[in-house]
Symmetry: C2
């Protein structure tokens, strides 16, 4: 438990108004967007405005052996921001300045609390974009999305967060401020610190500033919607498109449960009798190229028995992506608890994974809607349930175990984009072997010897070897 002296010191650093200890606040910061995980109240929430303030807070935490949980918008889906061992929640909501847009070097530098969409709004006048676009792009912060290596709908062609981070400022567990990388697009001067901190879920250092690469957005694009009567055909179409060497900007899937739920929720005219939909967008720098790619995609769809509708206008295009973006909110309102998973397989195993998830749903008598970034092999099986139903939750847990065992058996991974956090700790050893778990622990111990940074997340607390 935190003593009054520490609270007073924190108030000295950030001002009284930026230290929250009211119960209502503590409850608000006791959970994140992940379902079916324990919530825990922190001792205090602190809202720094500068890197220097973050540094002072970390020094206090270090001295008093208090846990520190860096937190953006709390949208993450693996329990990564839950203050499991009480301590200090470090909210970045006040560190929301875009420090620079550099149109000559195609870079931007931001504070960690900048919302992703705000960055995109700031760079749009220069004819640039920051491609990573998780579903929460309008609320999630840059710091949080970098810490989780967020993916999104554009990942297939444009890559994920780690492909865009050039440099960073990090406050280390020692309280040291470490800046590395910068505006150079190539840099091999040290170990790849940028990649080490991207996706480290706040366990190795606290990200305070980020320099990212920007790109010009594509000039032309074409969206389409393909309908399938068999799940396997949709999966095999994905493999067929990749095998034909077409890399669409976006290649998303929705199964029947998702289609029906979305249509019921958003009334966008989806074919509710279909077994699966693929939502596809090709883009590029010339109309010819985009037309040719669309044509080639269309051919693969038809070969696999799909029916396709090309968006004839921007309005129709928007409707397709509104439908896709509605998938999670639509599913989430069907039942009290929405358990969103993030199983990823090699792209040619998509069909196998989809069929396996359907079979798991049947055997455990569960409602599972699957949607996701099919082109990346990244599926989000979403279980509609109610945490208050203990008997059903037991079946849910067994189904989830099977989903991840299946993904790994197919050569996949536990997480394509949501991270390990708290939610997937129990499976970690199934993907990494003993050496891998040991290496995680070694890195954590080396960078955070007192384990004050987001403890008990991502890295098992004790050595496994």
């Amino acid at each position: 438990m935190m003593n009054d002296t520490v609270i007073a010191q924190l108030k000295d650093i950030v001002g009284e108004a930026n230290v929250l200890t009211d119960k209502a606040d503590l409850v608000t910061y006791s959970y994140d967007a992940t379902a079916d995980l324990p919530s825990r109240m922190p001792d205090v929430i602190v809202l720094p405005a500068t890197t220097a303030e973050v540094r002072h807070i970390v020094l206090i935490a270090k001295k008093n052996k208090l846990a520190v949980y860096p937190r953006g918008a709390g949208t993450n889906l693996s329990g990564g921001t839950i203050p499991l061992q009480r301590g200090i929640v470090l909210s970045f909501q006040r560190m929301d300045r875009i420090l620079e847009v550099d149109p000559e070097n195609l870079t931007a530098t931001v504070q960690a609390g900048v919302v992703i969409q705000a960055l995109n709004d700031a760079v749009a006048p220069y004819g640039l974009m920051y491609p990573p676009d998780p579903g929460t792009v309008t609320t999630a912060t840059m710091g949080g999305s970098v810490a989780e290596c967020a993916g999104g709908l554009r990942g297939l062609k444009y890559g994920v967060t780690k492909h865009y981070v050039l440099g960073m400022e990090v406050v280390l567990a020692s309280g040291e401020v470490f800046r590395f990388g910068g505006k150079t697009v190539k840099n091999v001067t040290a170990y790849d610190f940028a990649s080490l901190f991207v996706g480290s879920e706040g366990t190795l250092g606290i990200i305070t500033q980020i320099t990212v690469k920007l790109v010009p957005p594509p000039q032309y694009r074409k969206a389409m919607l393909a309908t399938f009567q068999r799940l396997e055909d949709a999966g095999n179409t994905v493999t067929g498109i990749i095998k034909a060497h077409i890399i669409p900007a976006t290649l998303e899937i929705m199964d029947r449960v998702t289609i029906q739920t979305v249509e019921n929720y958003a009334k966008v005219g989806l074919p509710t009798d279909a077994e699966a939909l693929l939502l596809i967008e090709v883009d590029g720098g010339s109309q010819d190229l985009v037309d040719a790619e669309a044509e080639a995609v269309l051919k693969v769809i038809v070969e696999h028995g799909g029916k396709v509708r090309l968006a004839q206008s921007e309005v129709e295009r928007d409707r397709i992506w509104t439908a896709r973006r509605a998938a999670l909110p639509a599913l989430a309102q069907v039942s009290p608890t929405t358990i969103l998973e993030d199983a990823t397989v090699p792209r040619n195993r998509i069909a196998d994974m989809l069929v396996a998830v359907q079979d798991i749903a049947r055997r455990y008598r569960l409602r599972i809607g699957t949607f996701g970034h099919a082109g990346d092999g990244n599926l989000h099986p979403t279980i509609l349930t109610d945490v208050r139903n203990a008997e059903e939750m037991e079946r849910v847990h067994r189904a989830v175990d099977e989903i991840f065992a299946t993904a790994l058996r197919l050569g996949g991974t536990l997480s394509g984009e949501h991270g390990i956090g708290l939610a997937k700790m129990k499976y970690l050893g199934d993907e990494l072997n003993g050496s891998g778990l040991n290496l995680m622990r070694c890195l954590k111990d080396a960078l955070d010897p007192d384990s004050i940074l987001n403890p008990a997340k991502m890295v098992p607390l004790k050595r496994s070897l």
Copy 2:
């Protein structure tokens, strides 16, 4: 010094024929492609054929506290493979199998000793390519290029080695074999191990297998050669092209010294009265797009006072790239010693850097030819000298110091693609601060506590804080 028991144990593992201790062999492996560095004879060269053999060799090294130097083709340019503390050179020349090409997932898995060009030859029949293309693409191995995070001529549009590594098998300093990642294009299950080992220069683990992403090669391309009477105009043209949001596949520069030397060597018809050349190739999936990009590039060139010649045939295109690839060999034959540097700056500082290098050459009365990947801000100032001339070498060392100080002052980095190795250790602290040096040491200690893996490279031997 190594005792006979160890030699006998090594022969038991890999067979007598694959353990080399003759003086001629020891001398052969005592240096790499880097000039002006001490050569050191190892105790023994061992040529394993399997990961299991690598593992056994590491266990012997660990037990006897012997240094181990993983070595591909020895083409690296920062002294990374010099056996500085004697011990075992681990040559990967027998581990040269392409284990799998997977055209459905666009991946390939290779042993570390596979030559980059051999991989490209193997995937070409599938209509695929592995984009990273260092100058030594026909001799360098995949293991070495991954350990160095090699760049190359295609880096601007297609990225460098780290953008293509999906998974790896690594023998750790403990002798454990650790496999991670695989064929999934997205994976956030652990810390980003792939990025940690890419560019770690053999200091954190020994890379034995690598799974890489492949891409379809562009269908259309157009090469051009732009001539400038002022170095600054060439530099500003680079900035202008990037600022116009055109990302050519290749955007290379040559200064006057390089032009004259290359022309003298290769007789390809370069304009020897020019102050600088830009060699540019745009590519893409449609002729229209490529034409439009070429047109836009041309406009920027002309705006900056350049004259441009478009390659009218494949022969002419080949001549442009032959000229560029001849830069290093041409410069290297002019003088006994060729010191190739690798200073990288933000792209809008290219002109400043070029002018600064010219000024340094003048002040230190040295012959410096500069060429490199201008589009990446990655320049290779190349000093033509003779290590036997002590007075001149003194000036060379001071000039090199200034070159790197200038790159850092302009917001750049010590190395875009050649690594730190031995050659740039003395500048490391100038780019990283104390926290950075400390972090390098922490990571090294965590993964290689006895410091047997390529010791005294990349990471300072003692803690700096």
